[in-house]
Symmetry: C2
Subunit: 499 residues, 2 copies
């Protein structure tokens, strides 16, 4: 206790003494969705848009304004309350809910098979679900952002679905949760925390173990690196070499201008670090969306885009220097359509990001990069500088051990063996987030579905004609398990009624 208190005081002192600190590395989570890159529209996904007046703070009793939580709903295929037809609820994550709905075809395709209702509630503080009337007001300062937490979001979903079921006299209809990435974490946590609300959860690419020291801190960047090495050792080597080249060019007279020109930047390059971030992001996101067919999830991309990036890097004309090779490579990510003339390293440097707030409060996911196994520059995780950054950006000090206290993680195998049921953890091993995921079966009904060549929540995407067999099989397993949960629920219900 004394230790904890002193450390907080110590940290506060550091924070006050060091107003300007070295930039701590924040994780490359799917923070992009708040600015959808493209509009996928499909006739399969029709829904009504509704709003629910939501309690801002579920866990204390201040007088606070409610806020309109947006949710998408489709009841076209729902068989209604009397046959206890299921309700599929996607746990909205850190972005506009329509964007997630359009990229989660699996749920829409499943609904008619199960006679299910589909609901996509939006996560508070994202999209249109803004407390205090507007995004500007909601994101004004630490006091207004205070209620942007995972626990509050889960309570939102619980309150919303309870109210909705009551209004439809559908209290007995089983709810199945879906979610990908952070949404997958929410789905798994919701199944554990609200077993009376939902009978099971498909948590896709949910890195619920990426906290504290549960998994090795270098796992994320090692997986990204291995994805590149797997395609080509020389590609991996070129990328690994490039950081020193950038640093040494950047230090020369007019070096930053030369780098800006090489990488076709629209504006000035202020430091090599900005270029590092831009490149690191591209590699990390490429690893996440290394899908087996052309996709437009974050960016328009070809099938297995890492293969294409490495082709460009490896197959540039002989004599092409390292930086030009790198530029050719990342252009596959940033400019696959060829429409960009130049690149902005940071679209909106002054906009506060909701995910950054979450990372600065409870979603502290420690990461490092290991020079022996990674193609990235080496760095260690430094909580102090991370916390200082958070203080400078938001005026908040993180609670780095809170998530594992609230949701567990350290001893997850023992816990799930004796408690809990009906969770699918699906992971693709190309996805760097799989390093923080559950990739082993734990019990009969807490199971891991792992695909060697899958990427970030690939299974939640709509079926395509190009789906490889292993993906078709994975989805079939998921359908079978979900059907089992629902059947078992009906059996139990009948048993209870007859008691």
């Amino acid at each position: 206790m004394t230790t904890k208190l002193s450390f907080t005081l110590f940290l506060t002192l550091i924070v006050l003494l060091l107003p300007s600190s070295p930039e701590a590395r924040r994780l490359p989570f799917l923070s992009k969705p708040s600015h959808p890159q493209n509009n996928i529209v499909s006739d399969n996904y029709t829904y009504q848009i509704r709003y629910f007046q939501q309690t801002l703070d579920h866990f204390s009793f201040h007088h606070l304004p409610t806020f309109p939580q947006r949710y998408l709903i489709n009841t076209d295929h729902w068989l209604g309350p009397s046959p206890m037809a299921p309700i599929f609820l996607y746990c909205g994550n850190e972005g506009d809910i329509e964007w997630f709905a359009l990229n989660t075809g699996f749920v829409w395709e499943l609904a008619p098979l199960f006679g299910a209702m589909v609901i996509f509630p939006e996560h508070r503080y994202y999209g249109e679900s803004m407390p205090y009337g507007s995004r500007d007001e909601a994101y004004k300062n630490a006091s207004t952002l205070a209620y942007l937490t995972a626990e509050q979001a889960l309570a939102d979903y619980a309150v919303l679905i309870t109210d909705l079921k009551r209004n439809l006299s559908a209290e007995a209809c089983p709810v199945v949760l879906f979610g990908g990435s952070y949404g997958g974490m929410l789905a798994a946590w919701m199944r554990v925390k609200y077993p009376h609300i939902a009978i099971g959860a498909l948590a896709s690419s949910a890195p619920i173990l990426q906290f504290d020291d549960i998994v090795p801190l270098d796992t994320f960047y090692n997986i990204v690196s291995n994805d590149f090495r797997r395609e080509s050792t020389s590609c991996f080597d070129t990328i690994k070499k490039s950081w020193d080249v950038i640093t040494s060019v950047g230090r020369k007279a007019n070096g930053l201008d030369r780098l800006a020109k090489t990488f076709h930047l629209c504006g000035k390059l202020k430091s090599s670090d900005d270029l590092f971030n831009w490149l690191e992001s591209a590699y990390s996101y490429l690893a996440m969306v290394d899908y087996p067919y052309p996709s437009e999830f974050l960016m328009p991309l070809p099938a297995y885009p890492i293969k294409e990036v490495c082709k460009k890097i490896d197959e540039s004309a002989e004599g092409t220097n390292v930086l030009d090779r790198i530029f050719n490579g990342v252009s596959v990510y940033y400019n696959y359509t060829g429409q960009a003339d130049c690149f902005d390293l940071d679209d909106d440097p002054h906009g506060m990001s909701g995910w950054d707030w979450q990372a600065c409060t409870e979603m502290v996911m420690p990461m490092s990069s290991n020079k022996n196994s990674s193609m990235f520059p080496e760095w260690d995780y430094n909580y102090t500088s991370y916390a200082v950054d958070c203080w400078n950006e938001f005026g908040v000090i993180p609670r780095p051990t809170w998530i594992t206290t609230e949701f567990g993680g350290h001893d997850y195998k023992s816990v799930f063996k004796n408690f809990g049921s009906n969770i699918i953890f699906s992971n693709g091993l190309l996805d760097p987030w799989s390093g923080g995921g559950v990739v082993e079966n734990i019990s009969d009904s807490v199971v891991a579905l792992v695909t060697k060549k899958g990427a970030h929540h690939l299974d939640l995407r709509a079926a395509t004609a190009d789906d490889p067999d292993w993906l078709v099989d994975q989805r079939a397993s998921e359908v079978k398990l979900i059907k089992g949960w629902i059947d078992n629920y009906y059996t139990t219900k009948k048993g209870v009624f007859n008691m």
Copy 2:
């Protein structure tokens, strides 16, 4: 949704239009413990008193002061971290933790048998565990009281035990939860919400179903009434008759003075209602503490005190009128030692009660009294007048459906059948709170231990030479089940280590 919003608006209007409302009946929970009636001191219960700097709001990120949470700890019998010796944690409820510790002998007696550490953390806003520096500041208004909720209390226990285990390198030591009454609810809920923190819970006399309309609203007062009828029909009849007599006497000239004299009140009687409350409290508490041996839990009392009360009522000299009989009866409760010369109906009319705040926010337990089955005056549950009272007293509007949304209850059999394990719900059927308790086995490891002649969390009290066999048996079953949880935990741990 629209309905909900409008109802809140409607309620707010009512609240504003009706500053003075008829007093809604608040439940007779164990709100007394904040003023211990007596000091039981036992050599068996030695402990250190420690304080933990606790986060005031676990679920949002305001800048709030921490507060010192008091906890009692005894490690005398603990076998330490390397044999993974267990930790017994009593979930402190609405009162001074020392008082609960002294009245929960079972846990102290168990500790040496299991080589266990014992911890009694105090519930926030009770005893010495006061936010904002003092009770006066903590209870100042709705803003300072805002964080007095069950969810925050559970998070306190989770944070405290996690920190304590880390400091002792005891992360692998299994935690078993204990709790009685509201503390039993907390223990059961904690097992469900924090399965990674505790491997099982003994929830004694925990009315987790006394919410919404899960159980019939008249169940509590029916059980109290049956406890009296069971002893003597004429006793039941006399009590049932007495309300009309009080009302009619009270209406006469100097009637209130006559009542005050009959009941030996120290001060003036302002209305018959106050006398009703005083008598109803006595009967309800008598039902709770109808223990098979003399006890001093709430008041010094003889064995099976209801039998004694009824004796006094029935066996008063022939010709004794109804009110004198009633007075003779309740004197067993209020004045068993014979030391009181007169009675104060309300010890502290201006003191805000923590439990009243909880009842006015989330712990809304609807109750009514049915003229056909109850010995009490008839009344219906009226949420509106309940809410108006809460507004007038605390400036807060309750959230009557929140507890079942957060913790479940409506479909608890189906839920526990498929999810969760290692909970004992123990109940004595004399206890009126057993009406809101789980009294049927649900699965192999979510079990109900019910005693016909038990009262309010009798099993948690220290063993006495007067314990009836059924009580000895009940405690033996509890020990066996707890031992099973711990053994199973060790087996699982070994399995996981060997994987």
